[in-house]
């Protein structure tokens, strides 16, 4: 965008939000060029609206001016979902962060997109309710971003992902209209399920301005247990054995040997250092049921090769067990200055062979790969450890990532379970969808966004536009303590 165009656009946006909340200073633009992925690109203008109506006017101005618009909120996307790869306007929701209504009568909450996920559950807690999807970045990510990516989390195994909990949306369309879709407080609405379509569309169709979510009663008791295994294959088979019993835990998380070593060094969670794999399992329910299920799962774990099973006897012990898992990503700093996280999915039964193949990739390439993941639903998060200052390492790591996603797809899985396609995997999407599949998706997108201005450059492959700068490009300053001390876990 040239200077004169930018000034004209800035002036129009300032008419909407005021002088203070639309800006284009190059120094400030650098603060909005990145998210939690490795890629960056500078916006031309950042705008911070306060109301749905302001959002609608901004969207309309951008559409009329044919300027790309990228929504951004917590900016915790691991897939470059909020990187403004084509420049233009970044719209952020820092001022739209209110829980508008808690309606326990209808089991709904109405929130603005900038509400932090954890803040919603905290607001609901005094009422005895919570919001079930709990992405691991829940202390930073927002409901708007969760809607964009259809975010998951460790407890999706039993409670489902974002789309299962969103019943209505208010969205600003490129036409400038503000439309309310879905049943909202009702279970469903007549007509096509636009809510279901928009959730997970990664901001490529419309900008979400308000969200209706289901709320559910807090479980009376959560029972957590740790099971120790000699290797990941035995642990994976134990997961399948648990599923076969008919017990559906709220969460099944797995950590491999390398992760355990990093975690123990960082947070002393009490995982045995000689373990080949650790499973964390959780059930919730009324006390007598949770207790019984905990014991039954412990037996299945032992019968299927666990060398040790420990049931948390109280909340303190439970928190201690989770602490290691929650700190897993931060703990990687103990092993390596940088890591690259993947988000592949395989059918649960393909876990052992997939993990073996990832292991083989690690041996062949010499890069260490940790595995910390949601074993219950086959959602892998391999972490490739590397040193960004070593020439060629980042490029090699990207190739490893590509190979891992390809083998997930070949195993009947997917290239992303919860992080989204974003910028990162727009070529990898071809591993799971044909041109015909993508063509239908493209037609659907153009119904909303005929000029392809909404979060452009995301989701779809091959538009030829590349990020203007990679964070790991040579000479770029090294990040201090990668996620050190952060409570980032996925």
């Amino acid at each position: 965008m040239d200077g004169a165009d930018r000034e004209r656009l800035l002036a129009r946006l300032r008419e909407v939000v005021g002088e203070r909340y639309a800006f284009a200073d190059p120094y400030e633009m650098r603060l909005y060029q990145y998210d939690a992925s490795p890629e960056t690109a500078l916006p031309d203008i950042v705008v911070i609206p306060a109301t749905s109506e302001e959002v609608a006017r901004i969207v309309k101005i951008c559409a009329e001016s044919r300027v790309p618009l990228t929504p951004r909120s917590g900016a915790s996307s691991l897939a470059g979902g909020t990187v403004p790869v084509e420049g233009g306007v970044v719209i952020t929701f820092a001022r739209m962060d209110r829980v508008l209504e808690i309606d326990t009568e209808n089991l709904r909450a109405v929130v603005q997109p900038g509400v932090v996920n954890l803040a919603l559950s905290q607001a609901l807690k005094p009422h005895g309710y919570y919001y079930a999807p709990d992405p691991s970045s829940q202390g930073a990510c927002t409901i708007g971003g969760n809607v964009a990516t259809n975010a998951g989390g460790p407890h999706t195994l039993i409670y489902g992902v974002t789309v299962n909990h969103v019943t209505g949306l208010e969205v600003a369309l490129p036409s400038g209209e503000l439309v309310r879709v879905g049943g909202c407080k009702s279970a469903e609405a007549i007509g096509y399920d636009l809510t279901g379509l928009l959730v997970g569309s990664e901001g490529t169709m419309a900008v979400v301005t308000q969200v209706w979510v289901k709320i559910q009663p807090l479980p009376p008791v959560q029972k957590t247990l740790m099971a120790v295994y000699p290797d990941v294959a035995t642990a994976s088979n134990a997961v399948s054995a648990i599923v076969r019993t008919g017990i559906l835990p709220a969460a099944i998380e797995m950590m491999d040997k390398l992760s355990i070593q990093a975690i123990e060094a960082a947070s002393h969670a009490g995982y045995p250092l000689d373990a080949g794999a650790v499973l964390l399992l959780e059930v919730d329910g009324i006390p007598e049921v949770a207790q019984e299920l905990g014991e039954r799962m412990a037996k299945v774990c032992r019968d299927n090769g666990a060398t040790e099973v420990r049931i948390a006897r109280n909340e303190q012990e439970r928190q201690a067990l989770w602490k290691g898992r929650k700190g897993a990503f931060s703990a990687m700093g103990r092993l390596s200055s940088d890591f690259y996280v993947m988000d592949g999915v395989v059918p649960r039964t393909k876990l052992p062979e997939t993990l073996a193949k990832i292991d083989a990739i690690s041996e062949r390439t010499g890069f260490k790969i940790c595995n910390v993941f949601h074993a219950g639903d086959g959602n892998l998060h391999p972490l490739v450890l590397f040193d960004a200052f070593q020439a060629g390492q980042y490029e090699a790591v990207l190739r490893i990532g590509d190979e891992i996603l390809k083998l997930c797809a070949q195993a009947g899985g997917s290239v992303t379970g919860e992080h989204g396609i974003g910028l990162e995997k727009r070529e990898n999407i071809r591993y799971v969808f044909s041109d015909d599949d993508l063509e239908v998706m493209d037609r659907v997108r153009r119904v909303f966004d005929p000029h392809l201005l909404m979060n452009p450059g995301k989701v779809f492959p091959g538009n030829g536009l590349q990020p203007s700068a990679l964070r790991y490009s040579p000479g770029y300053p090294r990040r201090q303590a990668v996620a050190g001390g952060e409570d980032l876990w996925v």
């Binding site: 259809n150 299962n164 439309v179 309310r180 059918p347 086959g378 290239v415 992080h419």
Partner: protein, 420 residues
């Protein structure tokens, strides 16, 4: 002057007189029939229809053909009856992939052999197909606990009038690659494409189940008790409030004015605790817990009650659950009713003459936050009713989606919301 148009040649196979009547929709008869063997075959068939162009009505088991406005035109009966295979099923993954024409009861039997099930219970599973369940978004009585079709479909293959088969989603339970086009087709009544294959999540059959019955002198306390159960942690698998006539129609010939029937499922201890809780709530609401022997077919009959055969008019209201009492109060005395308080669903069977005024009254009570549709009616009654009600917000987008995926409007033309 000019070229005289010849008679339009319709694609498809000749249809027998018997099939013509079997496959009639709102008294309209098809001229030809297509019954593709798989997804690709379906797409090829649709392409021919699109070129003709010929208006297609898609058929599964036919249990929901009374839903929707009468078709604008009807040339081809497009049946999924040959697409009945269970394509993949891995019990340890809790997923399966099936062809759209598979009967629900056949699917449940295959899953049941492994101790699993699809926890959705649409009416008439012996006839209803998986594709029909998706297209009509039919959900049984367990929706408050188990969710609806959209919560269990993880992937889809759709045949489009372009002649292409396109997929969305996948075979894994957690997947955010690409757009969730499953949602677009669920409840779309086949107006955007023909659902050819469906990938589903499944789960284990609960180890224990029980039913608690409570009877009340009035609807309000029964509904209130149902709502209280819905908001509790031990939510039942189903909780329905029936008037006396509906109770009888479900095979329980007790002389109770209003009945709250609570179906409990889960782990054994959970069901025990839930039974105590349900009994307590019924008692506190002024009802009496009954120990009558439940006919084994009771829950199946209650499930099928909302998809009546014959000339019954069925209205369905869906509203925020806190509005259920208001909607329940508005049920006219000549109607019979099954209310799902926890889901905000009120199903009414009304007489043809009272259909229009009841529909109007329920719509005004449901307001903007709810909806009331004519879920089933004979053609003579349907022609005088606004089946869907006013188009919802976002309707221009819906119409544009239809235009994008079915530009010639050959699929179930006119049957859906707003004349789509």
């Amino acid at each position: 002057m000019g070229v005289k148009a010849g008679p339009r040649v319709l694609p498809g196979h000749q249809i027998t007189g018997a099939d013509q009547h079997r496959l009639s929709v709102d008294d309209l008869l098809p001229s030809k029939i297509m019954h593709p063997g798989d997804a690709e075959d379906a797409a090829r068939g649709l392409r021919l229809c699109d070129l003709a162009p010929a208006s297609v009505v898609v058929w599964g088991g036919g249990t929901q053909m009374r839903l929707g406005a009468p078709p604008r035109r009807y040339d081809i009966a497009f049946s999924t009856e040959r697409m009945t295979r269970l394509l993949e099923y891995e019990p340890a993954d809790l997923t399966c992939r099936v062809e759209a024409g598979m009967r629900l009861s056949d699917l449940q039997a295959a899953l049941g052999a492994q101790g699993q099930r699809l926890p959705l219970d649409p009416p008439h599973p012996q006839r209803a197909t998986v594709g029909g369940m998706v297209a009509a978004n039919t959900n049984g009585l367990g929706r408050a606990r188990y969710g609806t079709v959209r919560d269990w479909v993880i992937g889809i293959a759709v045949a489009y009038p372009s002649g292409k088969v396109a997929r969305a989603g996948g075979k894994v339970v957690k997947n955010v690659a690409g757009y969730d086009l499953m949602k677009l087709h669920i409840g779309a009544l086949g107006t955007l494409g023909v659902v050819a294959e469906v990938n589903l999540k499944v789960h284990a059959i609960p180890e224990s189940k029980a039913t608690v019955l409570g009877h009340f002198e009035a609807a309000a306390p029964a509904v209130a008790a149902g709502l209280q159960l819905a908001r509790s942690y031990l939510a039942p698998a189903a909780a329905i409030v029936l008037d006396r006539r509906a109770l009888w129609e479900c095979g329980l010939s007790a002389d109770w004015q209003w009945t709250l029937a609570v179906k409990l499922e889960g782990y054994a201890r959970e069901v025990e605790a839930a039974r105590d809780q349900a009994g307590g709530i019924i008692h506190d609401a002024g009802g009496r817990v009954e120990t009558a022997d439940l006919p084994p077919t009771f829950w199946d009959a209650a499930r099928d009650w909302s998809a009546p055969d014959g000339d019954v008019v069925l209205l369905r209201a869906i509203a925020p659950i806190a509005s259920t009492p208001t909607l329940s109060d508005a049920v006219p005395p000549e109607a019979s009713v099954i209310i799902q308080p926890a889901a905000g669903v009120v199903d009414l069977r009304v007489t043809p003459s009272s259909a229009a005024p009841t529909l109007q009254r329920m719509r005004s009570l449901a307001g903007d936050g709810g909806q009331v549709v004519v879920a089933s009616a004979p053609p003579s009654v349907k022609s005088s009713l606004d089946v869907w009600g006013p188009p919802p917000p976002g309707f221009p987008i819906m119409r544009a989606l239809k235009q994008a995926l079915d530009p010639n409007g050959i699929l179930n033309s006119g049957r859906f919301v707003g004349g789509i």
